[in-house]
């Protein structure tokens, strides 16, 4: 076996050196009634070539690879990824390193993550960002737990009904055993969250909004922040499409206290929704309550700049059950990938590409409205929007699918009331001709 370097001779020599005759003897102290009986019930070993073939045989089933355009987002987005992102983030020194516990041997990872934190904070308009956590959903759950820690005795959080349904489910999973109360805030007719009836200030720890929200609508965070703060709560905002902040006001500049979300759009393949990237940022005053790893700048014995994991007093091996959270890793390689991607775009590039997403989505939205679709909500949107489609669209969608165009995500799976409603997403990967083809089909 090519991964196991031991020759039979060597095994014998090593066994002799440790005073054993057989490999089994190494396990002699394991009680009989704990033992595995028989062989593991697994398929036989495959050669590298048979393994490749097995994946190729799955190929025909893996049809999205050959789609001409996928106009679906909903938390996982198709964006162009420059080849340099793949090749740089794939360098084996990055890929095969462990958590940088020995900083002298890991300045590459550490500087890259420090840069990731900085770019993330700048993007979100926040003072500090962590080294990333699992995904957008757990980031939101951790953000609310953090807000509850900061608010000490308050035990209620209010969560917009327009936050991605899966994220709300994860929040419920994380918060329920602690006995916290979760209130769901309804939407107004524009598709924005209605903040007119928040619970009383002595109960409410935080209000969570998503912008652009699940229906693509951009929340009015400038208005929301004072309302939430007046209600004695922290404003937690999340996102599934970080590209939006290439164009829109950053949550930080609107007054958000904690900002988190999913960073998959930044150079990471959808891969059925994982591995993703939980981006997480907050204000400096709250940094010691922030969950997750963080990298800081320091100096070495000669006064030379260097980077280390820091603020680990928050972490598990020191405070154990009093830790800010149980997270003791980050999505390191995904964070690095996002950093390379952000660096490749630059500020100018990100703005242009975000605007192009916006323009293309607007073009489709106009086209669909002209073809008989109706907006589900009339609030402003970025690169996603929800519409009720005319009768017959189901069949049209099937036909488009046959031509390699995946035309929107049906929303009735999320809410039976949303029959005929579809969530469309248009990124830079969708050309005008595809959009025209789609609209023409709808008009037919």
């Amino acid at each position: 076996m090519r991964y196991l370097p031991h020759t039979p001779d060597e095994i014998e020599q090593m066994l002799a050196a440790v005073g054993k005759r057989q490999l089994d003897e190494l396990f002699a102290h394991i009680p009989e009634d704990c033992r595995y009986r028989g062989d593991i019930d697994l398929p036989d070993q495959l050669s590298e070539w048979d393994l490749l073939r097995r994946f190729q045989d799955l190929g025909p089933q893996l049809s999205l690879a050959s789609a001409r355009a996928v106009l679906v987002g909903g938390g996982s987005y198709y964006h162009f990824v420059p080849e340099i992102v793949r090749s740089l983030a794939g360098r084996s020194e990055f890929v095969t390193a462990y958590t940088p516990y020995q900083p002298e041997m890991a300045q590459g990872t550490l500087q890259a993550i420090f840069e990731y934190q900085t770019l993330t904070a700048r993007l979100l308009g926040m003072e500090v960002a962590n080294a990333s956590i699992y995904d957008g959903a757990s980031a939101l759950a951790e953000a609310l737990l953090m807000a509850l820690r900061l608010a000490r005795k308050k035990r209620t959080v209010a969560v917009s009904a327009a936050i991605h349904p899966h994220y709300r489910q994860v929040v419920r999973t994380y918060l329920e055993p602690g006995g916290f109360r979760i209130i769901e805030l309804p939407l107004d007719e524009t598709g924005r969250t209605d903040l007119t009836s928040l619970p009383p200030p002595d109960e409410l720890a935080a209000v969570a909004l998503q912008s652009p929200n699940f229906f693509g609508v951009i929340e009015d965070m400038v208005d929301a922040a004072p309302t939430v703060h007046d209600a004695g709560a922290l404003l937690v905002t999340c996102f599934t499409e970080p590209f939006a902040y290439g164009l829109l006001r950053s949550p930080g500049s609107c007054g958000a206290d904690i900002v988190c979300g999913e960073g998959q759009s930044f150079g990471i393949a959808p891969s059925l929704g994982g591995a993703g990237l939980g981006m997480f940022a907050c204000r400096m005053e709250h940094v010691r309550n922030m969950p997750g790893r963080v990298v800081g700048e320091t100096v070495d014995l000669d006064g030379k700049r260097g980077f280390v994991l820091t603020l680990s007093t928050r972490e598990q091996h020191i405070r154990r059950e009093k830790a800010t959270s149980n997270i003791c890793s980050n999505q390191g390689l995904c964070a690095l990938t996002a950093a390379v991607y952000m660096a490749s775009l630059g500020g100018t590039g990100l703005r242009r590409l975000a605007k192009l997403n916006y323009d293309k989505a607007a073009y489709l939205k106009n086209g669909l409205l002209a073809s008989g679709a109706r907006l589900l909500y009339r609030g402003p949107t970025f690169n996603e929007f929800a519409v009720r489609m005319p009768a017959g669209f189901k069949e049209q969608r099937r036909r488009l699918m046959e031509r390699g165009i995946v035309a929107g995500l049906p929303l009735d799976g999320f809410d039976p009331a949303l029959q005929d409603a579809y969530l469309f997403c248009v990124t830079e990967t969708v050309s005008r001709s595809i959009i025209d083809e789609l609209c023409k089909e709808v008009q037919s």
Partner: protein, 473 residues
């Protein structure tokens, strides 16, 4: 050589991105929504390539050399699995359109079966994105189980040889961790468990093999005690690499356990992640597993969310799928025979190193150990040389240091886990170097205290980093 920070480079107007054509008209946006362009540096493609190429050169990975971090299982990460994960059909699968990627559900379903077979457990969820989230998932299931049983239990037993995240995970679910001392032989005494286990106690979190590399030989007695009081047993599977095909966790009495695919199943650590921490449970806990579950149907594979007892969703979608795919590839490459062989050789390597170094370093517990062994710096105290000094000196010889100062039960711990992918010559060289360092400790301690000297930076001021945090540039 130095490399500036990203924003110390670049020039407004450069770009490393190939901007697509503006093939649609520009659309207006309400000025009140418009933000300033993000304050990112603008770099050319060459700038970006050189920046990250240079950064990578300051990193040490498995591909660079021996990385004997105890409890971390730094084994070789096969390149072919990187290629499999990049298969277009896998990389492009959309999580809300699984019907367009049925092959993906098949991979996940089969992987669940594989992990069940390897551990001896009955059912598996792949959602947890890391070991710590796997622990959390299991603890959430314990809480849900007792809720359903009608009697919420508040205490949970955690030995001092357990992994560091165990108490935090338990606390998140409303459990109060009750620490248990391991015995003088490094393993848990059933009597200690019996003394604390009661009807208010949810159960025990056991790392087995534990963080001393020792098998908890009394596990059957312990799990009987816990089960006898109506409790549940959680097994931290971080050290599974020692016992594949050798230990059956269900037979041991474990009710739920998590695995670290990035350890045992060789997916790369990526400088801190992404990992994957699937949870395996016995039948009676299956109803509590996260949703959606992947089920096999007559037509193929489907998702199933109608599970009223489920703790709910742990991940926005299906977990770190790109990691899961690599583990799936690894298991298929190894087959049952070589998985077991991997465990045997991992233990052989660890025991070999232990025996070769036992005259050099103080062995913390002199009894049969498995995939790792724990030493201390006791013998070096006389020379004012610490574990840290020896660790840093290893760096000068081109080795990544072992895990140090963990587990906490051993003062000045040095925890060496070579894994099975290291060959004898390389171990012999490492052993020789360690012996040389121990000699140096006696004769030239200052040299160790100044180490490392061949790296880009010397020892870093971690106190300063924590006292006056500078977290963004």
């Amino acid at each position: 050589l130095e490399e500036a920070l990203l924003w110390e480079k670049g020039k407004k107007g450069r770009s490393a991105f190939s901007m697509p054509q503006q093939d649609v008209p520009e659309a207006d946006l309400d000025a009140s929504l418009l933000g300033a362009a993000p304050d990112f540096p603008d770099l050319g493609e060459v700038d970006v390539v050189r920046h990250y190429t240079r950064l990578s050169q300051w990193n040490f990975g498995i591909d660079t050399g021996l990385y004997p971090l105890g409890s971390c299982t730094m084994k070789y990460n096969p390149k072919i699995n990187e290629r499999l994960a990049a298969t277009p059909g896998i990389a492009s699968a959309h999580p809300l359109l699984p019907e367009l990627s049925p092959g993906m559900l098949r991979i996940l379903f089969e992987l669940q079966q594989f992990l069940a077979a390897i551990t001896g457990m009955d059912a598996v969820s792949l959602q947890p994105a890391a070991g710590a989230q796997g622990e959390l998932t299991a603890m959430l299931m314990f809480a849900a189980y007792f809720r359903e049983q009608g009697g919420q239990r508040r205490r949970i037993l955690i030995p001092d040889t357990a992994h560091g995240t165990n108490p935090a995970s338990a606390a998140l679910c409303g459990f109060k961790p009750v620490p248990l001392r391991s015995g003088p032989d490094g393993i848990l005494d059933p009597a200690t468990v019996a003394a604390e286990m009661d009807e208010q106690t949810a159960g025990i979190m056991l790392t087995n093999p534990n963080t001393l590399g020792l098998f908890e030989e009394n596990i059957r007695a312990i799990t009987d005690i816990v089960h006898g009081a109506g409790g549940l047993v959680y097994g931290d599977g971080a050290n599974l690499n020692a016992v594949m095909g050798i230990v059956d966790f269900k037979r041991c009495g474990v009710d739920a356990m998590h695995l670290n695919l990035h350890k045992t199943f060789s997916t790369p650590h990526g400088g801190g992640g992404p990992g994957a921490g699937p949870v395996c449970v016995v039948k009676r806990l299956e109803p509590f597993l996260p949703v959606p579950r992947i089920v096999k149907t007559a037509q193929g594979y489907d998702l199933h969310s109608d599970a009223p007892a489920s703790i709910g969703r742990m991940h926005a979608f299906f977990g770190n799928v790109s990691v899961l795919v690599r583990a799936y590839g690894y298991i298929l490459s190894m087959g049952p025979q070589f998985l077991k062989k991997a465990s045997q050789l991992a233990v052989l390597n660890a025991v070999y190193v232990r025996e070769q170094l036992r005259d050099t370093l103080e062995l913390a517990y002199d009894r049969p150990s498995l995939h790792e062994s724990v030493f201390s710096d006791k013998r070096q105290h006389a020379f004012k040389v610490s574990t840290l000094d020896m660790a840093k000196r290893l760096i000068d010889h081109g080795y990544h240091p072992p895990t140090v100062y963990f587990p906490l039960v051993v003062p000045g711990a040095i925890m060496i886990e070579p894994t099975e992918t290291e060959c004898k010559e390389d171990l012999d060289r490492f052993i020789a170097v360690f012996k040389e360092i121990a000699r140096e400790a006696e004769t030239d301690g200052e040299r160790l205290r100044q180490a490392p000297t061949r790296t880009k930076v010397r020892r870093l001021d971690e106190t300063r980093a924590a006292r006056t945090p500078c977290l963004i540039g």
